[in-house]
Homo-oligomer: 252 residues x 2
């Protein structure tokens, strides 16, 4: 898989802001090959660069073509995005469905993802050049995505498909049962000490606390924090008694 | 699962264009509950409405709050997006990983997805309110997404997670073997008739053609087209002979 072999092709884009946004989206998702077919906007403006933000290098190395045939001439697979109904609809798949196929093809050659203009989409002639038809899931109530947003969804699926993005996992492991039991024992005692519960209701209450703490993960660090709270609570209750205080009588 | 129970919360957004874009993204993905916390831009401008495009109803029904606590007070799960490293990093999951949990929670109550501002992201105080931390996969070379693009990826994952979007499947079924064999038989004859191949090489060539046609799907409609081509080719070869023509001598 080689994301550098994926070319984003915009046919007749109308707004420089969208072209700039597409550059940012591409860099965000590890792509850098942008082709424009007869753009109807000036992509050398300050506005366009502003939307590209820190992806000005993608904007700079873009290439412009007079025809889609030329822009994709060296590409093996050519995937066209379309919401058009008719001949192609039944052959369309979501970008998530196509991603593995498109990514596999990048190992041996170039792959193009083609997007139509903001006002017209891709023409029948454009779609004829495509080997794959791509649909982006969207609400039936408003299915038309902004151009740069459509590019984002596609690039995001391809980037995710590489499975290269990993979030660092928990450094502290799940606390072992012995440590957890020590915590519950100390909490039981501290809750008795402050008069939160009485001995005959303690076991029932502790089942409730066990349920709360079992719902998520509890690391060793977490247990140490909870142990510290119980220890300090017990100290506080002892001090209160030492100073002549007493628990109020039980409520029920 | 109820997408209408998902609230998108933007904290201190800076650009009206982004707020407008977020409205469009939300409607594209079946959401409509937008909350703004102390926006620093005028969301009543023409620019904002232009970016919202046909999602002006989402913009109109937005609510504004003075503090994040108020904006999420009625929400069960509160998911915060962050690229921040430190305390939260190890607890973050991708939006695709969180989507099932967040969607499940929408069946019984409200869920908030919170996004920080373009320049500052979410503060430590904001993150303290969150029950879930969300990371969006992106390239290490340029990991910072445009605000509306970040909202898109999250909303897209939630919408996709409902599995409600279905592309219509092929109407014509895969052609049955008998029909396919008739097609290969007619193609074999027509390729002989026009002198494309000679009898002793025909079987080998037909294996090549079978391989080409087996790589994709072949519907009954497709087979009918290919049958028609073979039929017409045979007619053409007959006419050529009738008019006194002859095949050139074999090349090898």
């Amino acid at each position: 898989m080689n994301l550098k072999n994926i070319r984003i092709v915009l046919v007749n884009p109308l707004y420089a802001s969208n072209v700039g946004s597409v550059c940012r989206v591409m860099k965000n998702m590890g792509l850098n090959d942008l082709a424009l077919v007869n753009p109807r906007c000036d992509v050398t403006t300050h506005e366009c660069k502003q939307w590209a933000c820190h992806a000005n290098n993608v904007l700079k190395r873009r290439r412009e073509f007079k025809a889609l045939t030329a822009a994709v001439a060296d590409c093996g697979l050519v995937a066209g995005t379309t919401a058009r109904i008719g001949l192609y609809r039944e052959h369309a798949r979501t970008i998530r469905d196509w991603a593995p196929r498109l990514l596999a093809a990048t190992s041996t050659g170039r792959v193009a993802l083609v997007f139509g203009s903001e006002d017209n989409g891709l023409s029948v002639d454009d779609l004829a050049l495509c080997t794959q038809f791509v649909r982006i899931p969207s609400s039936a109530r408003y299915s038309s995505l902004n151009l740069a947003q459509a590019v984002m969804v596609c690039c995001y699926e391809l980037f995710s498909g590489t499975k290269r993005f990993k979030i660092p996992t928990e450094r502290t492991p799940e606390a072992p049962s012995g440590m957890r039991e020590q915590m519950f024992k100390m909490w039981r005692q501290s809750l008795l000490d402050i008069g939160f519960m009485q001995e005959q209701k303690a076991d029932h209450m502790m089942l409730g606390l066990r349920r709360i703490f079992s719902r998520g993960q509890l690391s060793e660090n977490d247990v140490r924090i909870m142990l510290g709270i119980a220890r300090q609570t017990q100290w506080c209750a002892r001090e209160m008694r030492r100073l002549g205080g007493a628990l109020p009588p039980p409520k029920n």
